[in-house]
Amino acid sequence: MTGTLAAIGAGLAVIGAGIGIGNIGSKAMEAIARQPEAVGDIRSNMILMAALIEGAALIAIILAFFG
């Protein structure tokens, strides 16, 4: 039972992170389309932001399985 609950918790965390990273990706694509010359800056900022969201999701997953 606890295993199932942990899996549901991990799944919920991943849904949140998925929405967040999806948003970042879509906005970054729009920004690159608008300003192709800024592609380098946009890409590194995109990865940075995605990493920050991923961090929150990872904490949730770790807590779900080990907490």
């Binding site: 380098g40 990865i47 940075l48 990493a51 991923e54 961090g55 990872l58 904490i59």
Partner: protein, 442 residues
């Protein structure tokens, strides 16, 4: 950025992909062979069908033995995955099993230093030793110690191991290994952990400082990097003013990319001061990530081990906070320009954030690399799941085809992840340092 892409164009990408596909294919077929050999073992020890009610199918029986037969009922891909990502006291290169030095210290036994071959571990096994040496045993890749002082010292042949489930005082379920010797059962301590049991691992009577598989992999990578960077550095001296060549041409674009896209935007004119630290972090993590991808060469999961990523994150934490300027501390403890009641909320949040940053650095690298390794092993396990662990050859062949394709795909993704995670660790550390050394003008 552009320069980075130009070096990786056309031919190189094709070559890179061929290499990845080749590696993935050898891995999946090699694993197949390994496990087929396991099942081929017939040691005449047929145990009763014991199912523990904890759902830990496979492996844990109430019978004193070294071997357990793999049957479709007790086959557990999860267990195999966790075994393969764990650290071990054996370094395996293909079929070769190299023993590594075990360095153990206990209060009553003093310092012990011996090669792990003393344990007489299985040649194709899962890191279980047939022998006990000075009351230490090798069980499932980790060293444990027999608690009873009456157990004889020196190298002793064991009758078998037994895994029992026990409930601790706090009501938690724990697995304890018992050693069978001369008709008696001896209880063993849990394995020694980095935290000395403070976080629930159980306090052990000994400390394990062994040169394990991960440490060996780190030493190999360290020597390799030393050779590469000394060679490249020398090339800049001898070939001054000429175009980069060979290794130099491979390292230079990555180095320049990191300096221009990571260090300079965040650190500006201070970037030269932190360049050695960030570059060391980046190249160390990148090399270890890639090294862990090589099949048949230890397959060490170094950056997927929490202790390694924790130490890297603590280094980043120390460098960030030791180089923190007045403005940095002011922004944490007494944010200027906000009302006093907001400060009471903001200060604890900022203070916690100081520690959450290295924790997320630790977990991100650990989880990404470990997840990749687990997925690869689970895909390889598909062969055994479809083949019903050797009973259905047709299913096994079908599973092998599917598993090869999926493993190849996953290994290609993992190659990308190896670069991205090294980059993310470096860029986040740089941004934390950048925030710490920044001077504000209010």
């Amino acid at each position: 950025m552009q320069r980075f892409y130009r070096t990786l164009s056309g031919m190189e990408i094709k070559r890179l992909f061929t290499l990845v596909l080749l590696l993935a294919a050898t891995l999946s077929f090699g694993q197949d062979h390994d496990h087929a050999d396991h099942e081929g073992h017939d040691h005449g020890t047929h145990e009763e069908e014991t199912h523990d009610d904890n759902g830990h199918a496979g492996g844990h029986h109430d019978v004193c033995t070294f071997h357990h037969e793999v049957t479709p009922e007790n086959f557990s891909a999860q267990q195999i995955a966790f075994h393969h990502i764990a650290d071990a006291n054996v370094y395996s290169i293909g079929p070769l099993q190299l023993p590594l030095p075990a360095i153990l210290w206990s209060k009553d036994g003093g310092l012990d230093f011996f090669l792990s071959s003393k344990f007489d571990f299985e040649t194709l096994g899962h890191g279980t030793g047939y022998n006990a040496h000075n009351r230490y045993i090798l069980d499932g890749g980790s060293i444990k110690r027999i608690t009873d002082p009456s157990f004889p010292d020196g190298t002793v042949r064991l009758d078998g191991l037994k895994h029992k489930h026990e409930t601790t005082d706090k009501g938690k379920d724990k697995e304890v290994t018992y050693v069978c010797y001369n008709g008696n059962e001896y209880r063993t301590d849990a394995e020694s952990t980095l935290d000395a049991g403070m976080f629930g691992g159980g306090i052990t009577s000994f400390h394990d400082f062994s040169i394990t598989k991960n440490v060996t992999a780190m030493i190999i990578v360290f020597l390799f990097m030393l050779w590469v960077f000394l060679k490249v550095a020398k090339a800049y001296k001898t070939r001054e003013g000429k175009a980069p060549k060979g290794l130099q041409g491979f390292i230079e674009p990555i180095f320049l990319f990191m300096r221009e896209e990571v260090l300079e935007p965040f650190l500006g004119d201070k970037s030269d001061r932190y360049l050695p630290f960030i570059m060391s972090l980046f190249f160390f993590i990148l090399s270890l990530n890639l090294f862990g991808q090589i099949p048949f060469f230890g397959g060490a999961n170094v950056t997927g081990s929490l202790s390694v990523t924790l130490v890297l994150a603590v280094l980043a934490f120390l460098v960030t906070n030791l180089s923190g300027k007045k403005d940095y501390w002011q922004h944490i403890f007494w944010m200027p320009g906000v009302p006093a009641w907001v400060k009471t909320i903001l200060t604890p949040v900022e203070f916690l954030g100081m520690f959450i940053k290295p924790i997320t650095l630790t977990l991100r690298l650990f989880a990404n690399i470990t997840a990749g390794h687990i997925v690869v092993i689970i895909f390889v396990s598909l062969i055994f799941i479809f083949g019903n662990v050797g009973t259905s050859p047709v299913g096994a062949y079908g599973g092998a085809v599917g598993s090869t394709v999926l493993t190849m795909f996953m290994m290609a993704i993992e190659l990308l992840v190896a670069f991205i995670q090294a980059f993310v660790f470096a860029i986040l550390t740089t941004s934390y340092i950048g925030a710490a050394v920044e001077e504000h003008h209010h």
